[in-house]
Amino acid sequence: MPNESKSDELKQDELVKIDYKPPKKDWMDTPVHFRHGTYIYPAKAKNLTYLGLPNPREWSPADEDWKLPDNWKDIILNGMKERLDKYRSFKVFMDICVRCGACADKCHFFIGGGDPKNMPVLRAELIRSVYKGNFTAAGKILGRLNGARGLTKDVIKEWFYYFYQCTECRRCSVFCPYGIDTAEITMMGRELLTLLGCNVNWVIEPVANCYRTGNHLGIQPHALKDMFEMLLDDIQDRTGVKIEPTFNRKGAEILFVTPSADYFADPGIYTCMGYLMLFHELGLDYTWSTYASEGGNFGLFTSHEMIKRLNAKIYAEAKRLGVKWIIGGECGHMWRVMHQYMDTMNGPADFLEEPVSPITGTRFENAKSTKMVHITEFTADLIKNNKLKLDPGRNDKLRITFHDSCNPARAMGILEEPRYIIKNVCNNFFEMPENTIREQTFCCAGGAGLGTDEMMEIRMRGGMPRANAVKHVHDKHGVNRLTCMCAIDRATLSTLMEYWVPDVKVTGIHELVANALVMKGEKERVVDIRGEALKEKKGEDNVR
């Protein structure tokens, strides 16, 4: 993209005469330019050191010298070979792309910005070219004509730039005739970069925190309990119901795990209050854990090994506490890990029992091996069996749409459960256009470790397709709430909406449940769970 600003371009007469066509260069000849706002700050040395990861150092992507180890080339090539031998996905995806271009315009970063290297096919080609140049005969002989290239430091920089401009959302994989999954490619790319110590702090610091304290924010156990006290005070304040959850309690039937952002960050806390209220109302025999206090797993954005290292806590804690099964809260990438990796990596969970809802008696057959149930599966079952007293009218000032979070949609297929709950707890629900929801949902552009403030420009750009669909239902139906079931979404979509559709606020599903839930012994509800008036004041019109 042309962003060099030669002073003569600004001469008045020439301003209108500039030829905008960028030079027709091959993509291999356009090295990346690290402009502020388009890259994430590098991992701090102390975090890498704590985790025992290679090459901790002070550096910046904008530097000329990245202080790579002397044998960096061998490290990468050996790392590639190892992964080609270990992952059929990687090897097959390197080999079978026919460059048909079906994926080209499916990436939200390409749609929002037009950078060709954000086309999934080219993002994969960044690494495929090195594969061809070093691991295939045709590539070695034909070289560039066959899309092969050697490994240079510029390639490493390019990988860093573009593999941290992919949110591993898997939208492209839906459209690929061979199911080539760019998330898989990006994961490999990031693993390789990790071997050189080229990580980003927004990912590595949560990983280090999570490893030590059990959660991304590094909240220590006593502080965590304090935070809950505040949430419980707020609940009592707004509903009149006093709740006393337990922590690290042995012998509970169920362990509940949710991303830490739910009890710490706005607006996740309201969703968290929803869990607390729901479980209290049911009289569920469950416990929280301070050790396994993080459902999220930024290991997913680092390496497979790191996923396993962080995820190990969940089963370990379930075993230590002697629970029967596990419920997981609303989170996206957490569920990718719980659903597709946990059992394989840290199972078998033979010390747990097949999940059965103690309230309805429903056996969750689809979780019989992993023994972990998604909260929307659990709640949908409750509603279907009439176990909850709900007053959807309490959500009447909200006009709601639902954003399918990438991982629950494309790594699980959990599409109807959330919709069923939403339709039962509120009266105004509007779907966004068909090609922007369900398996075709657009990413928030802040997933996979990109949700940091220094990436704001990229995030707003990549989030535009999502925001654009929200704006459409906002203009058409007066939608003022965007519901989602992902902690990263709740944080990043809030900012995204503030930029593109400021009238729309972001909410979790169980926040809506909390509002609608009629509890035993509650006082007359005049405020919602956020403490805002339940009904619009007269004359005030939130709905356009």
């Binding site: 034909l142 004509l145 459209f175 309990k225 370990a316 429903t362 969750f364 689809n366 090609n435």
Partner: protein, 330 residues
């Protein structure tokens, strides 16, 4: 440039047998040695590639789900786009392999105002891909009449269906037209749509030219410059019976056709055309989304460093006790 290299390569491939037959009389080289060599390379190469893929394990079960999962009994599962059983996976693969299900997804979008060529291309891409692959398959099967005595019944049926338009003498096969048209479309699309042109490599153009060459020589032989079919069949049957001999007067056009086919066979295992085998190996498509029902085994799962609860409690014991959190060791 990339296009030119691919084009010239195919021209060279055309020239080699032409010159060899016309001026050097090397009919046994092009009629016997080359086809045998090509078939051997094809089989060995194909097997080698498949084994190479198969040797890399599938450590994790990572299907891309494109529909509702199997969960509660009253929620309708999308069994084809999000299969949870082997039957479902087979169904999904059948749709994918025979009907290009994923590619078809591209076509489902509403239009803003009127269709335009390049936009519609996503729909056309699916159509052209279908036309191309199916025609190719049918033409391939039709060629079995050269491989067998007597000609099996189903081949006659297929030929009748393929030629149902009853145009011309000899009867025009629809697949011949479709194949050439589809290849032509795929080629034009590749150069006309900038996104696609930008990512195209020699190895993308080359097979298109090669297959077009094969189709063209085939069509020329059938409709315009008749070759000695009896001779051709004799040659082919000889090859199959491992008693090769080359009848005289077959015509150089046939040898060009045969040589190009040989080139395609020999080239296939080392190219992106391996997608025909690879699609069956794609872990995002060929696995059931039954992750939480059946444990998937990773053969190289290895122990990793973890931060144990005991270590955690050692770090925070006093703080935990101060707020009444239960601890293991006092």
């Amino acid at each position: 440039m990339k296009l030119l290299v691919a084009f010239i390569s195919v021209l060279v491939l055309v020239a080699i047998p032409y010159l060899g037959i016309t001026y050097a009389g090397m009919s046994s080289v092009f009629g016997i040695i080359v086809p045998y060599a090509a078939v051997i390379i094809f089989i060995l190469g194909f097997v080698y590639r498949i084994i190479k893929w198969a040797r890399s394990p599938v450590p994790f079960r990572i299907p891309t789900t494109c529909g509702q999962e199997k969960s509660l009994p009253w929620i309708k599962q999308n069994k084809l786009d999000n299969p949870s059983s082997t039957t479902g996976v087979v169904g999904r693969m059948v749709l994918e392999v025979l009907f290009f299900r994923s590619l078809f997804r591209n076509t489902k979008t509403e239009l803003r105002d009127g269709p335009s060529l390049a936009y519609a291309s996503s729909g056309w891409l699916w159509l052209a891909a279908i036309a191309f692959h199916w025609s190719f398959l049918i033409i391939l099967i039709r060629h079995f009449r050269l491989f067998s005595v007597p000609v099996p019944y189903f081949i006659n049926v297929l030929e009748n269906v393929d030629g149902f338009l009853q145009i011309g003498i000899p009867t025009l096969y629809i697949t011949d037209v479709l194949l050439l048209a589809a290849v032509l479309y795929l080629f034009i699309r590749r150069i006309a749509i900038p996104q696609v042109r930008y990512i195209s490599l020699v190895s993308d153009y080359f097979p298109l030219f090669l297959i077009f060459g094969i189709g063209l020589t085939g069509v020329l032989m059938r409709y315009f410059y008749r070759v000695n079919v009896i001779g051709v069949k004799e040659l082919v049957m000889g090859l199959i019976a491992l008693k090769p001999n080359v009848p005289a007067d077959i015509g150089s056009l046939f040898f060009i056709h045969l040589f190009l086919i040989s080139a395609l066979f020999a080239y296939l295992p080392f190219s992106k055309l391996m997608h025909m085998g690879g699609v069956f190996f794609s872990p995002t498509r060929n696995l059931a989304n039954n992750n939480r029902m059946v444990r998937h085994i990773n053969p190289w799962n290895y122990p990793v460093h973890v931060h144990t609860y005991a270590e955690y409690e050692d770090d925070f014991r006093d703080k935990m006790k101060s707020v009444g959190l239960p601890v293991e060791k006092e």
